[in-house]
């Protein structure tokens, strides 16, 4: 029995080591990006566009940030992003702003935070100020309504993509406990309407006691 066990664990260790190496490589790539004016301009531009095109609040911004900064520019690793979004989710304030602040800090310190924050806030500031002055036109316009509805469908596509992607990745790791947490949290929130903050706190506690092992990270 013990020999079989050690064989399995050896294979697992090998796999784990490879994963770690790949992770390190991505980490290195993320850190070595140049922080020049072009970097800050790209950061501002992408965050500005993401904020300007996000219809429908909090969670939609996550797939957008991931698409730009993880998949396109490789400034962040996926694990870092989810970790930081988890933190953004559990602090007070708007998730989108919190994520921008924390991810901005991760990518480029205080200056990165400021750039990301201003870029997130500016589009709604501009759009709403205009809308506030021509409110009547705006709420009646069918054209505006259909465009926004279409963009809502686009946002749905993006968030569904990321959801499927993350679940598959977690399932591939074949660790029971995280999968159980996903299922339980999903049912508690979707079916029983359990408060999100409470769920995040509970899952944090479960992690504190049961998921300290390195294989879970």
């Amino acid at each position: 029995m013990s020999s079989q066990e050690s064989k399995i664990s050896k294979e697992e260790q090998e796999e784990r080591r490879k994963e770690l190496e790949a992770e390190m490589e991505r980490q290195l790539k993320a850190q070595s990006a140049k922080r020049d004016w072009l970097f800050y301009w790209t950061l501002f531009k992408s965050t500005f566009l993401i904020s300007a095109f996000t219809v429908g609040g909090g969670f939609v911004i996550i797939p957008l940030l991931k698409g730009k900064f993880v998949d396109e520019y490789h400034w962040l690793t996926e694990k870092d992003t989810i970790n930081l979004v988890a933190i953004a989710q559990s602090m007070p304030g708007v998730v989108a702003v919190n994520s921008a602040v924390i991810l901005g800090y991760r990518m480029a310190g205080i200056l990165g935070t400021l750039v990301a924050l201003v870029a997130t806030v500016l589009p709604p500031l501009i759009i709403i100020t205009i809308v506030a002055y021509c409110y009547e036109f705006f709420v009646r316009s069918e054209v505006v309504k259909t465009i926004l509805k279409g963009m809502q469908c686009g946002a749905t596509a993006l968030i569904v993509n990321v959801g499927i992607d993350l679940v598959l990745k977690q399932a591939k790791k074949k660790l029971i406990l995280p999968i159980l947490i996903i299922i339980a949290t999903f049912i508690a929130n979707a079916v029983w309407d359990f408060n999100i903050m409470a769920l995040v706190l509970i899952d944090g506690f479960i992690g504190l006691f049961l998921l300290r092992d390195k294989k879970y990270s």
């Binding site: 989710q89 506030a132 809502q152 749905t156 979707a190 479960i206 992690g207 990270s217």
Partner: protein, 193 residues
């Protein structure tokens, strides 16, 4: 000048106490803006809510900007928004710093390992409520046949968008612009709702 400072401070408080995303901030804003300071009437406040949901951008920021504009013009909008994000800014930097420093010690790693599945689950929940809203135009799962059969062409936009983003590497902004155009076309044909 006084009113600008008041706007900043009131929304600063909203920013600190709004736990759990944009929707959670609405009762807090109502309490201070409508009930305490009488900057807006209740019907104006409901307008704020409608507009905040319709326009792009985080709902909380939209509401702060709209209230600010109504109360004191552009300067008011800037002050209210700045007040609203200041707590996030300070707290976010502190937490990010702590994460760098202590992110890899046992207990913190444990907590983060518990939080990650939670985020995955919440993203899935959000995905489903978005699907109900975009495909069936209702907020909860379709339960009756009548609801179920009332399917919108928005579903096609979702399908194309998802395939473009995941299989064809189309950038996220392009997907959103494309689906906006799709909405315009379907709306023109009268098959979006």
């Amino acid at each position: 000048m006084m009113i600008l400072w008041q706007l900043f401070w009131e929304f600063c408080k909203v920013g600190v106490f709004c736990v759990g995303g944009g929707y959670a901030s609405m009762p807090l804003i109502q309490d201070s803006v409508v009930d305490t300071f009488h900057w807006l009437s209740m019907s104006e406040f409901i307008d704020v809510f409608t507009i905040s949901q319709m326009t792009p951008g985080p709902i909380g920021i939209n509401a702060a900007t709209f209230v600010g504009t109504k109360v004191a013009g552009l300067a008011g909008a800037i002050c209210a928004t700045a007040g609203f994000v200041t707590p996030s800014f300070i707290l976010g930097i502190i937490l990010a710093k702590l994460f760098f420093k202590y992110g890899d010690i046992g207990p913190v790693r444990g907590i983060l390992n518990g939080l990650r599945p939670a985020v995955v689950a919440l993203i899935c929940v959000a995905s489903f409520s978005f699907i109900w809203l975009s495909v069936w135009n209702i907020e909860t799962m379709p339960r009756t046949w009548a609801e179920l059969s009332n399917i919108s062409w928005g579903g096609l936009i979702i399908l194309v968008g998802a395939v473009a983003a995941s299989r064809m590497n189309v950038g996220v902004i392009k997907v959103l612009i494309g689906s906006g155009v799709g909405g315009l076309i379907f709306g023109y044909l009268g098959i979006l709702y």
